[in-house]
């Protein structure tokens, strides 16, 4: 009995604190593990680490990934940074999802000034909070960059397909921070459109009745209807639009992730999706194809959120920079990260350049996708296009 107890104590202490050897290079990731974004993002990070280690590691050392759950709470996210910095002595911070959690982490990150490469937190409030931090690298496009990117996309599409012309847009956005900031960013970006917006309560927060917003949209008869909400809203919005007979020529959804089996609904056909990634990118990108196959082989499930390829990208970008720098020292590592040129499974090649307020912004482009026959196809950027646009949306 006593021996069992001693063993149990040892295992508990050992599992958390002392991991592999001391000579590993440690990456400390903070993600919401109860959410599919964090769950798959962390798995994809581990996949990248395993691949790199199998190929011999970097600088002759093995990579080690330590993932801590932020439970979607700012105070837990901040404590995770302290844990990674002081107990695990990680070399680089990676990860991230929610802006609300990240805002609470920034004071703690500033204490350690370790190199940080963050894949989440799109709110421009976060950008204001990290102004002037030379060790901070932000991968995800800021909300306003996303808006600007779609402006570019629709202009390119209108040029290529003269049939598709947009003058009037109706935005239905979820009433929380995510929807509102996306809408406000888009208002600035789409200054040449006539924009009308109205908020709704997302099903994620107990809402789920969109009919009054949809009716108001129907009265306006817009060229494009865009809803900004969560995956839980996706299919019910389509069904309720069908119920009241609302079929705009372009029906666009902009959730962070789509529900399982959305493509199986007949109503999904022709729905345009805003996003960074779709499984079909593997047809035009060998890196994406490799990632897709390796992820399925490792975990027996398909990547269902773009945080999976983002997490994979996160590890590779850091690993390649460490290799280039040849050291973990801060200054050379920052310089090496600035020289990043990584062909990512999201399609684009990742480089860092200044955004409105910060020096090190990664991706700036989004993609315009479309659900066609059960799968998301890429319409724009044309270099990754996997299908021609279906136009107009018919709603059946």
């Amino acid at each position: 009995m006593k021996r069992m107890l001693a063993l149990a104590v040892l295992v508990m202490l050992g599992a958390g604190l002392v991991a592999v050897g001391q000579d590993t290079i440690k990456l400390g990731a903070v993600l919401p593990l109860a959410d599919i974004t964090g769950a798959q993002g962390s798995k994809a990070m581990q996949l990248a680490v395993d691949e790199i280690n199998a190929a011999g590691g970097i600088l002759g050392r093995q990579l080690e990934l330590i993932v801590i759950d932020d439970e979607n709470k700012p105070e837990k996210g901040a404590a995770a940074i302290d844990l990674l910095a002081t107990v695990h002595n990680v070399d680089v911070f990676i990860g991230g999802m929610s802006s609300g959690v990240h805002l609470g982490q920034i004071p703690t990150l500033k204490k350690y000034e370790k190199v940080t490469v963050w894949i989440g937190a799109a709110s421009s409030l976060v950008e204001q909070a990290v102004v002037g931090l030379d060790w901070y690298f932000h991968v995800h496009p800021w909300d306003y960059l996303q808006g600007a990117s779609y402006v570019e996309g629709w202009a390119a599409i209108a040029e290529e397909y003269p049939l598709i012309q947009i003058e009037k847009a109706f935005w239905a956005y979820e009433e929380g921070a995510f929807g509102t900031s996306s809408f406000q960013g888009s208002l600035v970006a789409h200054a040449d459109w006539e924009n009308i917006g109205e908020s709704f309560k997302s099903a994620l927060l107990g809402g789920g009745d969109y009919r009054s917003v949809l009716r108001h949209a129907q009265e306006e008869d817009p060229d494009i209807f865009i809803w900004v909400g969560y995956g839980a809203d996706a299919l019910p919005i389509m069904e309720q639009a069908r119920e009241i007979g609302f079929t705009p020529a372009l029906f666009v959804g902009s959730p962070p992730g789509w529900p399982a089996d959305f493509g199986e609904s007949p109503l999904a056909n022709g729905v345009v999706a805003y996003g960074m990634w779709a499984p079909s990118i593997k047809d035009v990108s060998p890196v994406s194809q490799h990632f897709w196959d390796a992820y399925i082989a490792a975990f027996g499930e398909e990547p269902a959120t773009y945080f999976a390829p983002l997490g994979y990208t996160n590890v590779y970008v850091v690993a390649e920079a460490i290799t280039r720098a040849g050291t973990l020292d801060r200054e050379p590592l920052i310089e090496a990260l600035e020289a990043t040129n990584y062909v990512s499974p999201l399609g684009e090649t990742l480089t860092f350049s200044p955004s409105n307020l910060i020096e090190h912004q990664g991706f700036s482009k989004q993609k315009i996708l479309q659900w066609q026959n059960g799968a998301q196809q890429v319409l724009w950027p044309f270099e990754y296009a996997t299908a021609l646009p279906m136009y107009p949306f018919t709603g059946r």
């Binding site: 099903a203 009054s212 299919l235 119920e243 009241i244 992730g257 399982a260």
Partner: protein, 311 residues
Amino acid sequence: MRLLRTMRRGQWVLLAVTGGIVVLLMLWKPYALIEGIQRGGLYALIALPMALILGVVGIINLAHGEFMMLGAYAAYWFRVSAGVDPLVAMIPALGAFFLVGAVTYWLTIRRALKAPELNQLLLTFGMAMVGAEFANLMWTSQPRKPSLSYVYSSMALGQLRFGTYAFIYTAGAIVLLIVLLAFLRRTRLGRAALAVGQNPRGARLVGIDVNRTYLLIFGLSIALVGAIGAMFLTRHSVFPSAGSPFTMKSFCLIAMSGIGNLPGIVWGGFGLGVAEAIVLSFRGYGGWADVVFFAVLVAVIMARSYRRHAA
């Protein structure tokens, strides 16, 4: 606790006023009326089983919404694995969730009834966490919803075009109310439940098996809310945290109508649903719909309290 109330004269007046409001709304904002009654029906439908537990067993079940969420997942699983329509899956869900409820009662609630009253809050809070996290581990946080063509059926009346399927929640709430009232008035178990709800000690004295009554009522309520989960799934996505907002909404409705007033829950649900829908129908003010929900709630509770003080 009084589970039943007879109509008083004041209520006839109320009925007449309600009728007047309905007619006015039909002319002014027909969509708000139709959609308000539909969404209010869903609120009431989910609240009724919770009211049954609160009225008879005397427990605020904080895991109520989680049982509904699990019912929705059960229906989803039926749909994916056997192609069963969620509305058909309500029947097996009734049986399965009766067992879930009865076992939950036997293993946990039964033991907590003797403990200080508030322990039941903590107990059901823990159960809600377990339920939500179980669903998360089983199905991840990615929302799920089967695609069903009948849920967007609609009809046109002159200029009006509105969805008809969502009336299933309105009808469901009314049918469930009638069935529950009949059950409580006409059946042995129902009458026993009423007696236990009013005075457990007295009920025991007249030979009612209180523990068995609690078990059956708890099982019945969970069976109902599990089946309602299947019905919920036809028009809503399910995800691990889908249930918790409805726990709160149900609790609000019950408090608004007063414990033991089952018809009040249905009328209150319709009232709140319509009030919300009216706010939503004004463009740009949709964000205030929640305030209206809670303001109506507080106003009704306060008004009732002051009437009681005045009397």
